[in-house]
């Protein structure tokens, strides 16, 4: 997000971040129903009868931050290999069945979760439930399948990271930001460790983490809880409970120094500056201030009326884009940050000074009641729009519940945001931004020699 994009894309990026991470855009809006199977698998149903379609998702409470040292990338490579067939269905059979039935499917891996989903006509729901439940415990893979898929992942890494200077910098920033917490490793993994992953290690990881008591079923769309319950019991309820899994995560020591990570690259044409502070999340550290931090991020950098945009882009005219970012969803420590895309010819020193001047202003003078009221109003509105976008609710609940939240907590988001006042915003800003050691990132052009 520190990579410059034209203005509308900047807003989109900010919005996307917001929807994915800070807007469990919900309070009494999604109105989900939830129950738990006897084997410990939680089920969440969000009924939406707009079209005869359902989105069926299984979320596992395991992500890249649960990997053992030396195994970075294993959660993500396993996600790829989950499409290679089981004892009951041959390679490609599941995908073939989804496609023949007019469905779309996908999967994704993050720090704290791995998820699989199909979007399909409601009368095909039972079919995908049967096959998704099957691959929870019956995956069958061999070394001949792992080798080409590892190559696919290495190509994915080349296209996402190696070909993108901004993404290379982001990896280095992550490693500098977290001194001890596993978020310091990239989700996709380090290349040398991806190359070393083999079928035995992958299957051991699968057997350890893929079990009903470590998974959540989320179904959104044209289905009721009464329709879903018997199907969930039949397919997922039949799977034996696995051993209890404790997510033993390390914690961060206090940072003792500021860090500056600089990448000068020949293919960078637009430089960028960003600064990040370690911050609490809803599940790590001083959680009670996360609503105020979300409001602060909105005031400082959440859109065309935000302080950073107004000052750096519109008034001083030294930047093409500027904003702030923060999301409270992670199981581990979060990050509060600022980014600026300088105008050509403006040096990084003045950019940094101008951005930090806005931060200092908040720390010294706080924010106004009107700013807080407007920010809350806009955040309320995003909740309405989120409901209009099919699939958002399942993402919100899946990511929140795999990171330690409850349905009630997610639904209480607007109440928590609505209770924030100017004093709370100032106090939260002071807690995170005052006297804390930060990481500054600079992406620069290296003139071709």
């Amino acid at each position: 997000m520190n990579i410059f994009a034209p203005k509308r894309f900047v807003w989109l990026a900010v919005l996307a971040l917001f929807v994915l991470s800070s807007a469990p855009a919900a309070a009494q809006i999604f109105n989900p129903e939830t129950f738990t199977l006897k084997n410990g698998m939680q089920v969440v149903v969000i009924s939406n009868h707009r079209a005869p379609v359902v989105q069926h998702m299984v979320w596992y409470k395991v992500g890249s931050a649960d990997e053992a040292p030396g195994e970075s990338g294993i959660a993500h490579l396993l996600e790829h290999l989950m499409f290679k067939g089981t004892k009951n269905f041959g390679p490609g059979e599941f995908s073939g069945a989804v496609a023949r039935n007019g469905g779309r499917e996908n999967a994704f891996t993050s720090f704290d979760y791995t998820a699989y989903f199909q979007t399909i006509a409601k009368d095909r729901l039972e079919m995908v439930m049967r096959m998704e439940a099957d691959r929870m415990t019956n995956l069958l893979i061999n070394a001949d399948q792992v080798a080409p898929e590892r190559d696919v992942v290495l190509e994915e890494r080349r296209s996402r990271v190696d070909n993108e200077p901004g993404a290379q910098l982001s990896e280095q920033v992550g490693a500098a930001m977290y001194l001890n917490y596993p978020y310091r490793r990239p989700i996709i993994g380090w290349e040398h460790e991806i190359r070393a992953l083999d079928v035995d290690r992958i299957l051991a990881f699968y057997k350890k983490y893929y079990a009903p008591n470590n998974a959540i079923l989320v179904v959104e769309g044209d289905v009721t809880v009464d329709e879903l319950r018997p199907l969930a019991e039949k397919y997922y309820g039949a799977i034996p409970r696995g051993p209890d899994i404790e997510r033993a995560r390390t914690t961060e020591p206090p940072a003792r120094a500021d860090r500056r990570v600089v990448l000068a690259h020949e293919r960078v044409t637009q430089s960028s500056w960003s600064r990040r502070y370690l911050a609490p999340s809803d599940h790590y550290g001083k959680s009670e201030i996360t609503p105020a931090l979300q409001v602060l991020a909105e005031i400082l950098g959440g859109g065309p009326s935000s302080r950073l945009h107004t000052k750096l882009v519109l008034e001083d005219k030294i930047a093409l884009a500027a904003g702030a970012f923060y999301g409270p969803d992670d199981l581990g420590p979060s990050v509060f940050g600022f980014y600026v895309s300088p105008k050509p010819g403006v040096d990084m020193t003045s950019i940094e000074a101008a951005a930090m001047n806005e931060v200092t202003r908040v720390l010294n003078d706080g924010v106004t009641d009107a700013e807080v009221a407007q920010a809350i109003e806009r955040m309320r509105d995003t909740a309405v729009f989120a409901r209009d976008n099919f699939g958002t609710a399942s993402r919100v609940f899946g990511s929140a519940l795999t990171s330690g939240s409850t349905v009630e907590f997610v639904e209480g988001w607007l109440d928590r945001i609505g209770a924030v006042d100017a004093a709370a915003v100032k106090a939260a800003g002071e807690y995170v931004l005052k006297g804390t050691h930060h990481v500054t990132a600079e992406l620069l052009n290296k003139p071709q020699s």
């Binding site: 034209p6 779309r104 994704f108 979007t119 898929e149 590892r150 190509e155 009326s305 806009r378 209009d388």
Partner: protein, 448 residues
């Protein structure tokens, strides 16, 4: 936070495919959608699907005539206009205008394609009157003040510079430049560093005066709104536009492509590969057959011949796809992939082989059956969010498909026979016209 998605690129492709190609709508017996034709007092027509799920109104609209009409030397005009008409209008300067929208969570945005200039409005119903009035101002009284135009221009120039270092962009650009050589379609709709710098305030004003009119306007609306309410809003937003747009014409072109590989050297570890051959126009009687064939070759997410051969069997790439690109004045079949430099030769050879076999023998019966059940069965997925429904309504009008198209569409897919499929595979897929455009340091390619 960051999610690593296996198929983000494919999803992107799908979006591109849907924009460039045509709109994927169909019908199943279980699903009926009521499209209303709404005509305002002032004669503005919109197609409406009422949906009371949320207190929101979403409108998409298109003015026919897009970036292909940018004057020579002023490439990027439509794109700059799209990014600046909402930067101040009437008596509101840029900041006032943007903050008025922001405070009410009204979203108004514009986008310039080669054939059309598109707009989107999304608002909560409580702010709907204001939203349509702001749209009226943007369309009829944009200010183009020096400050915001300079700011947006700088952003666009920065993006153009970044694109020059983006291997995927470079490969796609070369494909367009070669396929449509000498034609407006060969030009980038964002323009060049030189051309964007040349665009003046008068150019922008002229663009608005010439291109925004009632006779080239198509509108789709979705939301919690009654036809009568919509009529008033349509007049409020659009009745101030001139009756007719300036006349325009884009010459027809058939892509001139031959087998071969064009390389754009770039210092990257992964070569970006784009491939192209002549395509098929949207109004061709064989269009639906071609659409089904493309799904089989490279349109499916996990299931296609290209996916199987390039990714699944050989692990050559993360991303591999093809799509139809039927534009108003010319058509192509396009595709893309990305592979380590050392494996570029093998990847190209594999794609060529898929192409040649498909042209020679066409699909199997079961491939055809599966493609048809996918394409017809995936129909309701288009109707899950307001913006995709509104986009569908506009695309139906762009392509002249008729207001009952949603009920008919699946029958068009069903009607594709195995004989059609074999015949069109043979005539449409042309290995001797399949050209590759590679940005990177590819190895293993025959020297030509």
């Amino acid at each position: 936070m960051i999610s690593t998605q296996r198929f983000t690129l494919r999803l992107t492709t799908f979006v591109i495919g849907a924009m460039c190609a045509f709109i994927l709508i169909a019908t199943t017996p279980a699903f009926a959608v009521q499209v209303e034709r709404v005509v305002s007092k002032g004669g503005i027509e919109a197609w409406l699907i009422r949906d009371h799920s949320n207190p929101i109104t979403t409108m998409k609209f298109t003015f026919r005539g897009g970036a292909a009409l940018d004057p020579v030397g002023k490439e990027g005009l439509a794109d700059l206009a799209a990014s600046t008409i909402d930067e101040g209008a009437g008596d509101m300067d840029s900041n006032t205008f943007q903050q008025t929208l922001d405070a009410r969570s009204i979203s108004i945005s514009f986008d310039a394609g080669l054939d059309t200039f598109q707009g989107t409005l999304r608002t909560l119903n409580k702010n709907r009157d204001k939203a349509f009035d702001m749209l009226r101002l943007a369309l009829t009284e944009p200010r183009f003040d020096a400050d915001p135009v300079a700011r947006i221009r700088a952003q666009i120039l920065s993006k153009i510079e970044q694109d020059q270092e983006d291997p995927g962009y470079q490969a796609r650009r070369k494909a367009m430049e070669t396929a449509f050589k000498g034609h407006p379609y060969a030009r980038s709709s964002s323009g060049t560093l030189e051309s964007v710098a040349q665009i003046t305030r008068d150019d922008l004003k002229g663009f608005v005066a010439r291109r925004f009119a009632r006779d080239n306007l198509l509108i789709g609306v979705v939301g919690d709104i009654q036809a009568d309410e919509l009529k008033g809003l349509l007049d409020a937003a659009f009745s101030g536009l001139p009756a007719k747009a300036a006349p325009w014409e884009v010459a027809k072109i058939k892509p001139d492509l031959s087998a071969g590989v064009d390389i754009t050297p770039m210092k990257v570890g992964q070569s970006a590969i784009q491939f192209a051959q002549p395509g098929i126009s949207r109004d061709d009687p064989d269009f639906y057959t071609a659409y089904v064939l493309n799904y089989i070759v490279g349109g499916g997410t996990f299931v296609s011949r290209l996916y199987d051969e390039v990714r699944e069997k050989r692990g050559l790439a993360y991303s591999i796809y093809s799509y139809l690109m039927p534009m108003d004045a010319g058509a192509a079949i396009m595709g893309g992939s990305g592979t380590a430099n050392a494996r570029a030769g093998e990847t190209v050879a594999t794609i060529r082989d898929v192409w040649a076999k498909f042209a020679a023998k066409g699909p199997t019966v079961s491939e055809l059956t599966d493609a048809k059940t996918y394409l017809t069965g995936a129909f309701p997925l288009r109707f899950t969010s307001s913006s995709s429904i509104a986009a569908t309504l506009v695309a139906m009008q762009e392509d002249g498909l008729g207001i009952d198209y949603i009920d008919k569409r699946n029958a068009f897919i069903e009607a594709v026979t195995f004989e059609d499929a074999k015949r069109v595979a043979k005539s449409l897929y042309q290995p001797d016209k399949l050209r590759f455009f590679i940005a990177g340091e590819p190895e293993g390619l025959p020297t030509e």
